[in-house]
């Protein structure tokens, strides 16, 4: 696995490498700083992200949550002028290092964005597209993965009779679950979600929340959310960011019942804006 990130171009999607040891960390962030040109958006943060758990990132707009999240699968590489210092250790490797195979990394650390962004293709192809690139060609295998990931994303029953219709024919909530299905079809180890439920109606939102809690059996999840109730309902740990600093990071129940830092309390009780 360690060398794979450097060398592998296709990965074995049938053999997930998930372990279920709780409290073990999957990502170690050490003094991470992230810049956009001159501007520093993340100021040297350090934190351990636990395996098989849901970690919520909260904080006011512009505090650096998305910037941090995107750095975990090197999405900031796509932004000209953006660079990072410090380390994010995953599987013993600093994923910020120059020689990391970013394509392989993104298969292990998948991302779901705020706005559902399905491809202009059928529901079925949305899921198989990346799998084919990863070398899976057999129809029966593809069918199997499509069904499994749609089931895991709590979407199967709603779409099983229309797999070949356009993904755009789905509602917003269904599209978001399709994007989650597409991400889990690649059997990543870590799933990053940036406000995945912000555009959803309460029922779709509840389904996505249930899904996230279910997924932590097999995945480690990091989620950015502006919805405090959502963070408190689904996450195990919560990190509060402010102006690029990590102010407080603790068990979610601690953060929402008795945070240690005054600023955290003000933020979660809606007392500053």
């Amino acid at each position: 696995m360690v060398t794979a990130l450097k060398e592998r171009t296709t990965m074995d999607v049938t053999a997930p490498s998930h372990h279920n040891d709780r409290l073990e960390s999957i990502l170690s962030v050490n003094n991470l700083q992230i810049f956009y040109g001159e501007k520093r958006a993340v100021n040297g943060i350090s934190m351990e992200i636990e395996k098989n758990s849901v970690t919520a990132l909260i904080g006011p707009s512009g505090c650096g949550k998305s910037t941090f999240l995107r750095s975990i699968n090197r999405m900031n590489d796509l932004i000209p002028g953006s660079y990072a210092k410090g380390e994010i250790i995953y599987e013993g490797l600093n994923i910020l290092a120059e020689d990391i195979n970013v394509t392989a990394l993104r298969k292990e650390i998948g991302m779901v964005f705020q706005k559902p962004n399905p491809f202009p293709k059928s529901i079925y192809e949305n899921i198989t597209h990346a799998l084919k690139f990863a070398g899976i060609k057999k129809k029966s295998k593809l069918d199997e993965i499509v069904e499994e990931s749609l089931r895991n994303a709590a979407l199967w029953d709603e779409v099983k009779d229309r797999l070949h219709s356009s993904a755009y024919s789905l509602s917003g909530g269904q599209q978001q679950r399709l994007c989650i299905a597409r991400t889990i079809a690649m059997k990543p180890n870590v799933i990053l979600l940036d406000e995945p439920a912000s555009a959803l109606d309460p029922i779709s939102n509840a389904k996505v929340e249930d899904l996230i809690v279910d997924l932590k059996k097999d995945y480690s999840i990091v989620i950015v959310t502006h919805n405090m109730q959502q963070a408190s309902r689904i996450s195990d740990k919560t990190a509060f960011f402010l102006n690029g600093d990590l102010i407080e990071y603790d068990r979610t129940e601690k953060i929402f019942t008795n945070p240690s830092v005054e600023k955290t309390e003000e933020y979660i009780s809606g007392r500053f804006g």
Partner: protein
């Protein structure tokens, strides 16, 4: 940056607190009146205490409704949530204090106009101490002052001790004064009720500490 963004919620919390203080005030008055009715053998005042208890019960109901509504509608967290939790708990303690005033008043009615066997000296002393604790507990709650709350709770042991001694003494009077058995038993009950006032005051004090620190304290050992 730190402007207040929850003024409606804060306004409701203020209203809730003033209801709680009103309730505490009613209970304190009821207990004082019950005590006066005992000392002066004032049956009319005792009956007034008994009949007024529904005011305290209604306030408790109103506080519970308001607090539950705020929990449901405002999704409070951290200290806001503790504040509402404490409102529910403290109002239940205060409701019990109202019941204790009624119980004392009922003993006054049972003793009626029978002359007191001897002048009441120790009971008013014990009562004074319990009332002091109650006033401190309510002040600590009002001011959200955990130090005062702890000070209040420290007195509980003294009241417990007085209670033990007093009841023992009272019971020794029965053999020589069998005609006064009812009065003596009623006075022993009153001692027990006063001891409960101190306990409920300590419970209120514990809630003040919990509100401030988020940690449960047992001040009532």
């Amino acid at each position: 940056m730190f402007m207040n963004t929850r003024s409606n919620f804060d306004e409701s919390l203020k209203e809730l607190k003033s209801l709680q203080l009103k309730m505490a005030d009613e209970a304190e008055t009821a207990i004082k009146n019950a005590m006066l009715s005992l000392l002066n053998q004032d049956i009319e005042l005792a009956n007034k205490v008994i009949n007024n208890d529904n005011i305290i019960d209604d306030l408790e109901y109103e506080i519970h409704e308001k607090a539950l509504m705020l929990i449901a509608m405002q999704s409070p967290v951290a200290k806001d949530l503790r504040r509402l939790h404490v409102a529910l708990r403290v109002s239940s303690e205060v409701e019990r204090l109202g019941d204790i005033a009624v119980n004392i008043a009922k003993s006054v009615v049972h003793i009626g106009d029978e002359k007191h066997l001897k002048e009441l000296i120790d009971i008013p002393r014990m009562m004074e101490m319990a009332l002091e604790m109650l006033t401190e507990a309510i002040t600590a709650f009002y001011a959200e002052d955990p130090a005062l709350a702890k000070k209040c709770a420290e007195k509980d042991d003294q009241v417990d001790k007085m209670f033990g001694e007093l009841v023992k003494e009272l019971l020794t009077y029965i053999p020589q004064n069998p005609d006064f058995t009812n009065q003596i038993i009623q006075l022993a009950f009153v001692c027990r009720f006063i001891e409960r006032i101190a306990d409920h005051s300590t419970n209120i004090a514990e809630n003040v500490v919990y509100l401030e620190t988020g940690k449960r304290f047992n001040l009532n050992k």
